[in-house]
């Protein structure tokens, strides 16, 4: 394999990991509470902003990380208690409208507080450079860190869900909502905890995205739709599905945008090929989702039997 293909695969993996961090929380909330939360991207943004601001003020990236996680989790739990809790019994339409309202509120609120200029986030010390992973292929060490963190989170979630009491309730909640209720578990507390966990992961994604792309208003919505695609491809409520779907979407998207314009350029004029190639590669993941849903309407790893 050429260095280019390896690098593009790594890029796809890293992008997939980002999507996984967002999708894991979303799929749990979706699967257990049955809530479509469009404002999940706002939690991503809150995490990124808190991390950037604290890192800037304190000069310590790792302090920023903690702040980002705390801010996202806290915001998530407040949102759950104040708003979403009232929407569990409603249909999807009401949830869409309410969380759409939340997006507007968060985006404009952040604009009012911190302005429109994207924020500068430094890389954490020791991760500013790149590592030569193959002769002639240096790769940014921070992106490797993202991959590592994501895989660790995946392992941690696996352990949490398979081997802890909360995990047992989460699993049961995704398949037999009424049974968990019947067990006498404090469902409200469980929901708040799960929502906080999802928000924490979204915040983690935001913190990790900060130094790579921009910390700016609206950053959550750009990635939100793809996150939904991941959740649906993977199967709603399934963390394993979210991981698999995220990697599939990340690698597909990256490889398509990396190679399709090049292939097209061999058969047509350069700028036409680029325009069409960009369109085709953007369409790719949606085609993927449509095909998956037509073949397996409940996604690849459906949680509900």
């Amino acid at each position: 394999m050429s260095a280019l293909v390896v690098e593009q695969l790594l890029n796809g993996l890293q992008f997939g990991i980002m999507l996984f961090l967002l999708a894991a929380g979303l799929t749990l909330v979706f699967g257990i509470m049955g809530v479509i939360n469009l404002a999940h991207g706002s939690l991503f943004m809150v995490g990124a902003y808190a991390a950037a601001l604290v890192a800037q003020a304190s000069g310590h990236w790792w302090l920023g990380l903690l702040a980002g996680l705390a801010a996202a989790a806290a915001t998530g739990m407040v949102v759950e208690v104040a708003v979403l809790r009232r929407l569990y019994a409603r249909d999807h339409l009401d949830q869409v409208l309410a969380t759409f309202g939340l997006i507007l509120f968060f985006n404009q609120g952040i604009t009012m507080l911190f302005g429109r200029q994207p924020l500068l986030v430094q890389l954490p010390p020791g991760f500013a450079g790149s590592i030569e992973i193959m002769p002639g292929l240096p790769y940014p060490s921070f992106r490797l860190l993202i991959i590592a963190v994501g895989l660790l989170v995946a392992l941690g979630l696996y352990w949490l869900i398979q081997h802890t009491r909360i995990g047992m309730l989460v699993r049961a909640g995704a398949t037999h909502r009424d049974m968990v209720r019947a067990l006498g578990v404090d469902i409200r507390a469980l929901y708040t905890v799960v929502f906080g966990l999802g928000a924490l992961l979204a915040g983690l994604a935001g913190v990790m995205a900060g130094p790579v792309s921009n910390v700016q208003v609206g950053m959550g919505e750009q990635i939100l739709i793809l996150t939904f695609v991941v959740v649906v491809i993977g199967g709603i409520g399934s963390v394993r599905g979210a991981l698999f779907g995220a990697l599939l979407v990340g690698v597909t998207q990256t490889l398509l945008s990396g190679f399709v314009p090049g292939w097209l350029r061999q058969v047509m004029a350069g700028s036409e090929a680029d325009a069409l190639g960009a369109a085709l590669s953007s369409m790719g993941v949606y085609v993927l989702m449509a095909v998956v849903l037509l073949v397996k309407p409940r996604g690849l790893f459906p949680a509900h039997a």
Binding site: L97, T111, L280, S282, Y286, P297
Partner: protein, 322 residues
């Protein structure tokens, strides 16, 4: 008809709006109102499948955009004098472009609906979104029709006997189409077909058990709604004199859906009221503060939490009390 009087008053008010706007020195309000009418048609047609058929399509802006692009592309070829694919001539006649726009949107809805309706629930929401996104990126990539930048429609379409360059005439035309569409939809909702759609919304399993092949009725509803959006898009293209992939972005689908919910799901006038409320709030709040979205967000939230039937629900409650 119990509702005849308020409806007549409302219609008379709508017809008189251009004169009022001129008299008050607010001529641009006519353009704003025209946009509301167009979005009202789009929202009403989404309501047919969403409110009456229980199909939550999150990709309805696609048909809106396709309707608009049909007008734009026909104009572009008319302007250049080059037939499409060397066969189909361009056109700037509304009586030609409008039916074609509805046809294009209807065909697209038939194909997409035929595939999407194999799923249901959240999967249906997402698959309709997926198809809309494909359309969006397709038009972003179509350089011949402006790509990301969109396509300019320098002159509005021609209609015998009307001059659409006059904002008030365009307004009345759109008002006519809105009233016609609402009337048509009112008949459909009350018809045997409408009863079947309504039954599917309430309990699809029951409908199958009385011998109704639900798939084809849902598909028919989906196509009708798509054509309504195509009509709305075609009128919008004339109003804006500009089309761009923006018109079929997922945000637009969300916006149309918000209008339906805000106004009142499953009601005749709700979607139009919702369109007026959303566009109006954008305009009014936007005039008061740069940070208008900061206030719009909680307003939407409040509607969901405390006014589940939307604005029509609130009005109904008020009427019952009064």
């Amino acid at each position: 008809m119990r509702n005849a009087l308020p409806l007549a008053v409302l219609l008379a008010g709508a017809i008189a709006l251009p004169w009022a706007a001129e008299a008050l020195g607010q001529p641009a309000t006519i353009g704003l109102a025209t946009r509301i009418l167009c979005l009202g048609i789009a929202a009403a047609s989404l309501n047919l499948i969403l409110g009456h058929g229980g199909m939550v399509s999150f990709g309805h802006a696609l048909y809106y955009g396709l309707g608009a692009y049909t007008v734009g592309i026909l104009w572009e070829h008319f302007r250049l004098g080059e037939p499409i694919f060397g066969v189909i001539p361009g056109s700037n006649e509304l009586l030609v472009t409008l039916p074609i726009a509805m046809l294009v949107a209807g065909v697209a809805a038939a194909v997409i609906g035929a595939l999407s309706l194999r799923t249901s629930g959240v999967q249906f929401i997402m698959i309709t979104l997926a198809f809309a996104q494909m359309g969006f990126f397709l038009f972003v990539g179509l350089k011949a029709y402006g790509g990301d930048d969109g396509l300019l429609v320098r002159r509005r379409n021609l209609v015998p006997g009307l001059d659409l360059r006059q904002p008030d005439q365009l307004y009345w035309l759109c008002l006519g189409f809105l009233v016609a569409w609402l009337f048509l939809q009112w008949r459909i909702v009350g018809s045997r077909f409408g009863r079947v759609l309504e039954g599917i919304r309430q309990n699809e399993r029951r409908m199958a058990a009385i011998g109704i092949a639900t798939y084809r009725y849902k598909l028919a509803g989906f196509v009708i709604a798509g054509m309504g959006c195509g009509l709305a898009g075609a009128l919008t293209a004339n109003e804006l004199r500009f089309v761009s992939p923006d018109l079929m972005a997922w945000q637009k689908s969300g916006e149309i859906m918000v209008m339906v919910i805000l106004g009142g799901v499953g009601t005749l006038l709700g979607p139009v009221v919702g369109a007026a409320a959303l566009v109006g709030m954008e305009y009014v709040l936007g005039g008061i503060t740069e940070n208008w979205q900061f206030f719009l967000g909680p307003i939407l939230l409040a509607v969901v939490l405390w006014a589940p039937g939307g604005i029509m629900g609130l009005l109904g409650r008020g009427a019952r009390r009064g």
